[in-house]
Symmetry: C2
Subunit: 173 residues, 2 copies
DNA sequence: CTTCTCATGTAAGTGGTTACATGATTCA
DNA sequence: TGAATCATGTAACCACTTACATGAGAAG
């Protein structure tokens, strides 16, 4: 369901074509809800079928300019506000942690160290992203910054946790 | 793919029936990789077909006792060690954050406050879980504790982040 | 005129969810 | 004997991924 609202939300911020959306999507929401090109185009057609968005113009190369309808905006607000029973998290990397007992302590320690490295590089990536973005003062920028801050804190937390785990494994023999 | 290894991993720790697995699963891995009964049973059959596990006995009510094979253990170790390109995270709750600009500041603030509450109650749930579990000193317990520690830190981080966001929204008007 | 970017779509396959279906055994 | 628990399975549906297909317009 979520992709539906990601698309609707992007259109609520700015009208545009599927192609436009696709690119804006990569730079913002794809970090929390990745989707492919196929999926996006399909979703736009379904949104239009249900009257939540509409085609305002057809340009060159069959380009379709979309815009949110009043119904779409209402539906979007409903979803955001809803007390949401979101699908649970799926974390293969943490699943592996449960199973590290199957490995030698050295190999397990190495997995934890790799986890820490990965978190560290994600942290750097997000820091660069934060520094590279020219932040406007509108709502989209404000809340985008908030989501980025979440990512930064998450990466920092993971780095410390995994480093601590690596140490704990080493100390355990 | 991951559920396959969750099942394989549980069997590697202890042999048992699908039903047994299902219950052990709920109390450990389901927190990082939820799965349904249908899915588990299907996966066990597929694992048996590929020779990674085997049926050692058939009991009353058609109960099938499973055990990991040598091939299964090897495959499990391979997966844990693998430099994994894990599927990206999907977070509807953070997607909503991107779209809070569609709401009034009061409603957005309320969403952030709800986020913080949810994190706080998750934090309490995990603290209780930690205190209720009688921890053995084996590998499974050690790494299970590590995964739980991750959950605790995550919940604490989310609580603080969301509370901060709520304040920032309030201060912004 | 060829290459790049713009622009949209279809099809096959996989993994997951929900609901349904079935029946044996245990225990009060 | 009726309810709870043990125990396994099927079928329909939905979301997502990967790969493929097509073609118009811009720019050199």
């Amino acid at each position: 369901m979520s992709l539906r609202f990601a698309a609707l939300g992007l259109l609520a911020q700015h009208p545009g074509s599927g192609y436009d959306l696709l690119k804006r999507f990569e730079k913002s929401m794809a970090n929390v809800w990745p989707a492919t090109q196929s999926q996006l185009y399909g979703e736009l057609n379904r949104l239009a079928d249900s009257g939540l968005i509409e085609v305002t113009a057809v340009g060159p190369r069959g380009r379709k300019e979309y815009r949110v309808t009043a119904a779409g905006r209402a539906e979007l607000r409903r979803w955001i506000t809803d007390p949401a029973d979101d699908p649970p998290l799926r974390r293969p990397d943490l699943l592996r942690v449960f199973l590290l007992g199957e490995l030698s302590p050295a190999a397990a320690r190495s997995y934890a160290a790799g986890f820490a490295d990965h978190a560290a590089s994600e942290l750097r990536r997000l820091e660069e992203l934060r520094d590279s973005l020219h932040w406007d003062d509108d709502d989209a920028a404000f809340y985008g910054r908030a989501a980025l801050e979440y990512g930064l804190r998450l990466a920092a937390m993971e780095k410390e946790w995994a480093a601590g785990l690596a140490v704990a494994i080493a100390e355990r023999r």
